[in-house]
Amino acid sequence: MATREFAYLSIRELGKLLRSGETTPTELAEYFIDRLETVGRRLNAVVTITRERALREARLAEAELASGLDRGPLHGIPYGAKDLLAAAGYPTTWGTEPLREQRFDFDATVVARLRDAGAVLIAKLGTVELAGGMGYEQPNASLTGPGLNPWNLDAWSGGSSSGPGSAVGAGAVPFALGSETWGSILTPSSYCGISGLRPTYGRVSRFGAMVLSWTLDKIGPMCRSADDCGLVLEAIAGPDPNDPSTLPEGFRYRPEEEPAQGFRIGVLEGSLDTVQPEVRANFEAALGVLDGFARLEPVTLPDFPYNEAARLILSAEAASAFEEMLDSGILMGLTAPEDRTGGYAGLTILAVDYLRAMRIRRQARAALSALLARYDAIVHPATAVVASPLSMRFDDYAGKGRRLPLGSAGNLAGLPAISVPNGFGERGLPTGLQIVGAAGSENRLLAVARAYQARTDWHLRRPPL
């Protein structure tokens, strides 16, 4: 096989090549490292190539597979991790210039679990500084520069998991780990034309990850397809004594058959007036596909101040998590000017205001749970707009209404969601279909997403690099 053909293969396809002897873990690691050095760096997607570790893990995988020890579908598959996840001995910058040399002597739980599954860590990938927690308002907010979109180099990759988004989109890694507090997996996945899964809160351990918000942070897979997301989620999910928020049960990826009577899907139609025309058209076209295997019903979100509650909770928890850094002045060295001041207001939030937000959150979570009990999933556009031009501030491009309510509602309630590609909008940029389900319903969400991808080829398109 010509090496060029590795770039856009799925995890299962790469696994078949490994097990048939058509390639080796070392060849894959070297191939994708080379692709990161060329394509990935051009997109500002790379912080650190973990070459020594990658080749060591690849050689081990090679020996194990040769001896008949098969650790499963990720064995020998290269991947990248957002640079807020600790990897022993390597810089973990959290996307910031002041922490360029920060290192931990242990692996984040998710990195350790992928190591145990035989996956090969080849890079730490770009992130918006401090995962965007200081309120960045434009793309240039990372020590590696603005994340560039593989579909249009004059457009942003999305954030805060910018490196995972553009590296997977460009075929520079087979999959990556990202994180989401409020939109940071789904947005870059939608913008870069890939499939990204935000797991249920507590499904995946956050130990060894930078804290932005204890009650909102989630770590999840960013991949070429929904099926790949399921494979990666199974490897990283499960209880962890180092993270008290983790759910007690593990997660088994069980690709579900499509129910004979079809899925029951709620269509969230509110907010469609605020999205770009192409985003709306692609969403409506996706509904036409979903209608072929699901019963669609219009739904409305329970009436809660989702955005305001999420803003208060995130700002208060981030101010607490970063209080020492705010006090020290180290954040004055951040890249985006607005990030040098953006965390300070959170220091003044009243305890009663934070608690009020958490009390409303409980009501909202119960109401959303009741709504989702009637459906296999709810669908909506993943983002209101395609990726903004590099030169524009987000509000100037998308308006202040760019935060769709399902994003804050889903994150407040800890609900799983996936974004899958569903077409292209202005400037040749991808759009995404967001599929949200009840807490713990990842297998059902993945089944809906897989059914959609079985009938479309948006996830198979390749950017013009």
């Binding site: 309120g135 009650t215 809660f304 101040p305 955005n307 305001e308 509650a309 803003r311 208060l312 700002s315 002045g329 004055m332 607005e338 040098r340 001041t341 953006g342 300070y344 207001a345 959170g346 220091l347 003044t348 939030i349 009243l350 205001d353 608690l355 009020r356 937000a357 958490m358 009390r359 409303i360 959150r361 409980r362 009501q363 979570r365």
Partner: protein, 64 residues
Amino acid sequence: MRDPWVTNEIERRLASLRDRFPDRFSEAQWEEIHEDLEQLAQAAATLRRRALGNADEPDFIFVP
């Protein structure tokens, strides 16, 4: 029209930050912080308009 309480609250919080970080920021940066404070105060005011009862607990449980 903005609630006068919100206006006063923003100024009070800005003053507390100026006391805590007297030499940290330029006036232009203090203006940015003022805007951030306004957003948070408006969000809090929105949440305060939602009725809650005495028994409405926050969304976390203390486990001893």
